[in-house]
Assembly symmetry: C2
Homo-oligomer: 773 residues x 2
């Protein structure tokens, strides 16, 4: 836990330079616009602790797999998020002295991420070794309007001297991933160009052959007027720059505007990439920094209109939730169905890959409720387009006849994880992908999606489950052997309740979806089953048989589902019995000790009871919560949110709040001591879930929006916005009453604490909490 | 399966050069003397496919661990068997043409490993590009008399030319391990010296700081007389040589004698290592090649006197068993208690480490029956000396109070394996180390060993088991969760029958051993329990409770023990149901598929029934054999021997013979397609077990030697030798009768097919097979 960042409702502020925490701050202050992003690095040279990071969405590198012991079936490579050309660089030299905050004295340092308006600001005074004092202020953003570009305003003022100052804005493509398995270079240079104040470099990724052209254009102002500077082009291997030397008077502000653009061959013909970059940069340069920034602020205002959550009476909580929402919006905009939500977004490269089951289980509901329907739909389409590769993946593991196993981690649909107990066995992810289709259709009512895409995916996943279970002669039931459930502190277990349940549920839902699709579009259905050789009668009968005879371990005496078979053979004890200083156990205990302990990394049975809450009564939830919660160490960032939601549902307000705090400020407070690697982007959606599904009690039942909101005890009020089938609502709950505002034109009937409430277009209603409770 | 090596009772012969198989041949033709060894490489330069390999016993390198995903508890390094300086090299240049079998034509090539006398011979005619024909013959051995040295006789004869021939005997220390994790160099040069025909180099291993001085001395003869050659010393980085150019007439044989020595700081003061090497080499050079070779032949004759197994009527089987015995003797002599039996011996570096549970479970019985008692005792002492590190190892995994977990693989007592399901969970190895003490005491009657060393180890291992089990409230029994049994095709299972059984057995045996030691030497016992804080009453009571209440999974209906809990939930099918082309499954199936299949890599329940045969009746063995054998794929080299023994016991002669063949010629025929990495040294002891404990039916019961020999149907006779408590016996069984010869002076009463037979000193008895059966 660190507390060096100032708490503020809309800003993340670092007052004074915390040199040792710089990599943490860089992660937290990352910028992104869904297409490109970067860590909160300095523009000028910095020789201290830093992870320079620039990322271009969808551009990856298949790094050669590194393992200790090869297991048959491992993929050859792991798709790494590629650290790309650094386009923000502006070196400043004052008469042979470099500006470098690592070597000079720093005064009045301040960094601020403005979440309301979407930019990063920094100011400081550097005292060089010569005693010269230079004031610097910079403002930088990645434009969400011109979303392949960013802009920087970098201003320098000599405070106690006048001198020739050399300014070198550059693009550096000689970049390596810190997490490269064999310390290889991933980029080759293709070409570079320089012009007056301009420079371009085109790089190509090895193996994958992505081209990325990075361009810059520089304008300089002194005394409010454009300076007609002399520009000296510089070219090194994978590096281009323009150097200019200016006379700077004492007290005179010199402003450098640097415009940057990153175009990739994902979106452009690689033959004309530099030309396109040139045109793009001309356009934004003409638009100018101030106009771009103005548009940025407007665009962020629009986002907050549908996204914001307002907490009164708890600044830490307020800042936390806004930070989470801000980063989610920076990471994924849903405009490109080829993209997804990487675990670190644009804030770091660790873990690689861009898509885990986090997307479906945690992120989808956030985008469903806060963005246009097409955003969530694109997340589904992403998986649909990778179906063929999921089928190939299953074939590698011995499955046949169109069975699909979606990868644990992927960029392009191919598995790139390499830990057998996860890669091959944490197969419940397949269920989450099926569940996401259900969740999307339930929320949006878009049943046509099932016809066009959904059913095909459901059938392929169901085929996998049908083959993955086997008949146990001993039990006279279907069992599923050798899996890892959501709780990764158990590996290679038999009959994980969650996995068995979601498998059987998928089969049930597929049977139901077949019926729906047949009814909606017989012709398309016939076309589909012909194309994928679906033998309806046989496959559905088989599915039904598995549904009827699936083994779901439970203990009747305790009235709980068993996380897996044999769970009760463990020595059961609460987390509070773990000796002090031994937590987190994953940093203190050997793996086998963790495995055979009863301690749970992440909601497992409770995750299932969350997904399928309609199928279980509250007493069942309570018994399972009371049984599992005390044994859960929440060493996954994805765990506390589910427990928070469940605690809210059970009326355990304190527990719900405690669990909420665990996720909301995870990165701001560097709770797990690993924020320097990047932020936990996907778990940020979990924070949102804890608020909206937990405190807000949002559910969908029979096409209707259900809300059971309450305000945590120490808050004055909680207000959140949600979209639902064209409507935009704001739900505000205080300790006294609950107000629902309908911002849209259409009228909507919701169920609020069990009562139907009809809101006319652009209206609001307030009910007292005592009425509601 | 490859069949290019000639079958011969005493020789391994390659007729004609099999270029593509060269690395396999190099493994098979390896030489060793327990202290040093080497692959069957060529002396002269060879640019073709080769793995140059020279090894010095006990000298290792802690290579930095390479894993994909770090698990807490993994060791920092993996002790690699170090590929050391190449001292056999002799480059031959004929007027600017190098002798290199990869680039010249080769005629009349023949290589032979003489197992009877312990040397390697090679002869060929090389036709150089210039048309010059050079005849070469070489003889090489690693001396078991002067066991830090080896010698080479390398003779060249120009067949159709006369010329100046340049001869460069050298030592090359610029060696890398092919299996280095990060392609690092493991050796640094300390110093080097050259003299007339002599050269020395001293290298030091990085990190571990072992010093090894390698020296050579060269003598040359022409026309049977010593040649007074001109020697030009050459020194490069980690390389020393002496170059000499000789006039060679057509038809004249020039003989190069090269003596090599390797002294390590394990045995010498590193300050005087080169001096010692110089003295050593002077001594053996004075002795001369012929005398050294004569002594070598004598020494091997002595070894075969007590080791040989003679099979008549089956040359392939005869060659196979002799090859296995030969390699075992080359690998370990038992003279140094710091050494052990590496999985590849001196035949390759793969897998690293020198000690697996193979030593106790497979190799110990071989040395018990064929070598002086001190050899087996030294194997035990090796573990005793590493007890402290085994306690530390257990501490790392959370165990306390003197509990010991011996490592899965080790060089110096520290764990160096890094695969969690093995490193942390394949803990049955601890049981095998306890069992070896029992086995040794049972075979030798040396109960004093228990007093001096054995009990201390037993208590430490028992403490581990006592802590590793836990009380299952559900079962009201002790369970052991999260283990990997001998069958590594199951990982992280609960209640592996074998592991639970050997754990409980260890506790029983420890209780018994405490009683014995107390009776034998109260004083020493008191000293011991004081030193290790053994709370006798409490710890023994606890042990007894676990023994009484251990959960041992079985199926009463089928009358079989369950390999692990839940085994009967699997889809059970025989190996014969695996589709053609899918075996070995470990090369064709993904790991998860293997894990959830019923297929067994290696004897597991049957291994337990072999160790503890006195505790189960034959019907129980038969039921379990009939149940498990059809599901066993024997993809471990250590599996078929146990099945062969069990089949012999059950009178299933054909199965016993089939299983015997699987191990006996494993490397000679490259059965698993991996002999190029080195030979499977430890499984060679399994071959011996299949003969002596299987066909020979050797057991020890109540201090008596039991024999139930039979001759496999297609053999004329089988004869094997065994030592037992000072006696040396030969058991010869034909299809008609069984003869037992007693070579020793002492009389001995054995049980032969259930009848007591007393053999006076130097006598023999023969009984008819019909009587015996």
């Amino acid at each position: 836990m660190k507390n060096y960042l100032t708490q503020d409702p809309w800003r993340i502020v670092e007052e004074g330079f915390h040199r040792d925490y710089n990599e943490i701050t860089e992660s937290v202050l990352s910028l992104g616009n869904g297409r490109l992003g970067q860590r909160g690095n300095f523009e000028e040279k910095f020789t201290g602790k830093t992870l320079q990071g620039n990322y271009v969405a969808g551009v990856y590198y298949p790094d050669k797999t590194r393992v200790g012991w090869w297991k048959n079936g491992y993929p050859e490579y792991f798709a790494k998020v590629l650290n790309a050309a650094n386009w923000i660089g502006i070196d400043i030299d004052v008469e042979y002295e470099s500006l470098d905050l690592n070597t000079c004295e720093v005064r009045d340092f301040r960094r601020e991420l403005n979440m309301l308006e979407g930019y990063l600001e920094r100011s400081f005074v550097a005292i060089l070794k010569s005693g010269k004092e230079l004031k610097v202020t910079s403002t930088r953003f990645c434009s969400i309007v011109d979303d392949e570009s960013g802009a920087i305003r970098y201003a320098i003022t000599p405070l106690n001297f006048e001198a020739k100052i050399t300014i070198t804005p550059y693009i550096d493509g000689a970049i390596r991933n810190r997490d490269a398995n064999y310390d290889e270079t991933f980029w080759d240079e293709v070409r570079k160009e320089t012009g007056y104040g301009e420079a371009y470099i085109e790089l190509r990724t090895r193996k994958t052959g992505f081209h990325v052209a990075t361009g810059m254009c520089v304008a300089i102002e002194q005394d409010g007027s454009k300076v007609d500077y002399q520009s000296q082009p510089i070219k090194y291997e994978k590096y281009v720059a323009n150097r200019m030397t200016l006379d700077c008077r004492q007290g005179q502000e010199t402003v450098i505007y640097k415009y940057g653009v990153n175009l990739s061959s994902l979106n452009y013909d690689s033959d004309t990439l530099i030309l396109e970059a040139h045109q793009y940069i001309q356009r934004i340069t003409r638009k100018g920094f101030e106009k771009m920034l103005y548009e940025q602020k407007q665009a962020w205002a629009d986002k907050w209109k549908t996204n914001d959550i307002i907490i009164e009476g708890d600044i830490a909580a307020q800042q936390g939730i806004r930070f989470n929402i801000f980063q989610l919006n920076q990471t994924y905009t849903g405009e490109d169905e080829r993209l997804n939500i990487g675990p670190k977004g644009f804030t770091g490269e660790k873990y690689g890959g861009s898509t885990y089951w986090d997307t479906e289980a945690y992120c989808l509901p956030f985008y469903l409720s806060t963005a246009d329907q097409k955003v969530a739909r694109n997340l589904l389409i992403y998986r649909y387009k990778q179906l063929e590769k999921a089928i190939e993946n299953a074939q590698k593991l011995g499955f046949r006849a169109g069975a699909a196993l979606y990868p644990m981690v992927t960029m392009n649909g191919e598995e790139c994880h390499n830990e057998w107990e996860i890669t091959f066995e944490e197969i419940h992810r397949n269920g989450a992908i099926a569940y996401a289709i259900y969740d999307y259709v339930r929320y949006t009512g878009d049943e046509q999606y099932l016809v066009d895409y959904g059913l095909e995916v459901l059938i392929a996943i169901s085929r996998f489950w049908s083959q993955r279970v086997n008949w146990s002669a001993a039990k006279q039931q279907y069992v599923m052997l050798g899996v890892t459930g959501p709780n990764e502190y158990e590996n290679n277990v038999n009959n994980n309740w969650y996995t068995n349940y979601i498998a059987a549920w998928t089969l049930r839902y597929t049977i139901e979806a077949v019926g729906k699709v047949k009814a909606l579009d017989t012709h398309k259905y016939a076309e589909l089953i012909d194309r994928i050789h679906f033998r309806e009668e046989k496959e559905l009968a088989n599915a039904q048989q598995i549904v009827d005879k699936i083994y779901l371990p439970e203990d009747e005496e305790k009235g709980v589902f068993l996380q897996q078979e044999g769970f009760l053979d463990k020595e059961l004890m609460p987390v509070t019995d773990i000796p002090k200083g031994q937590r987190p156990i994953n940093q203190n205990w050997s793996w086998d000790r963790i495995l055979r302990s009863c301690f749970i990394k992440q909601a497992d049975v409770l995750q299932g009871l969350y997904f399928f809450e309609d199928e279980f009564d509250t007493d069942t939830l309570r018994r399972n919560f009371d049984f599992y919660e005390p044994m859960t160490v929440h060493e996954s960032s994805l765990s506390p949110c589910v427990h928070s939601i469940q605690a809210s549902k059970l009326g355990m307000k304190e527990k719900a709040y405690e669990m909420y705090l665990r996720t909301a400020r995870l990165d701001l407070d560097d709770y797990n001591n690993d924020t320097e690697d990047g932020c936990h982007i996907t778990s940020m959606a979990g924070t949102w879930l804890a608020v909206v599904k937990g405190f807000g009690g949002l559910r969908i039942e029979k096409e209707q929006l259900i809300l059971n909101p309450y305000c945590p005890d120490n808050w004055q009020s909680l207000a959140f916005k949600i979209r639902f089938r064209g409507a935009l609502l704001q739900v505000t709950t205080t300790q006294q009453d609950i107000t629902v505002q309908n911002f849209s034109q259409q009228s909507i009937t919701i169920k609020l604490h069990g009562e139907n409430v009809t809101l006319a277009g652009e209206s609001q209603q307030t009910v007292g909490v005592s009425v509601a409770a």
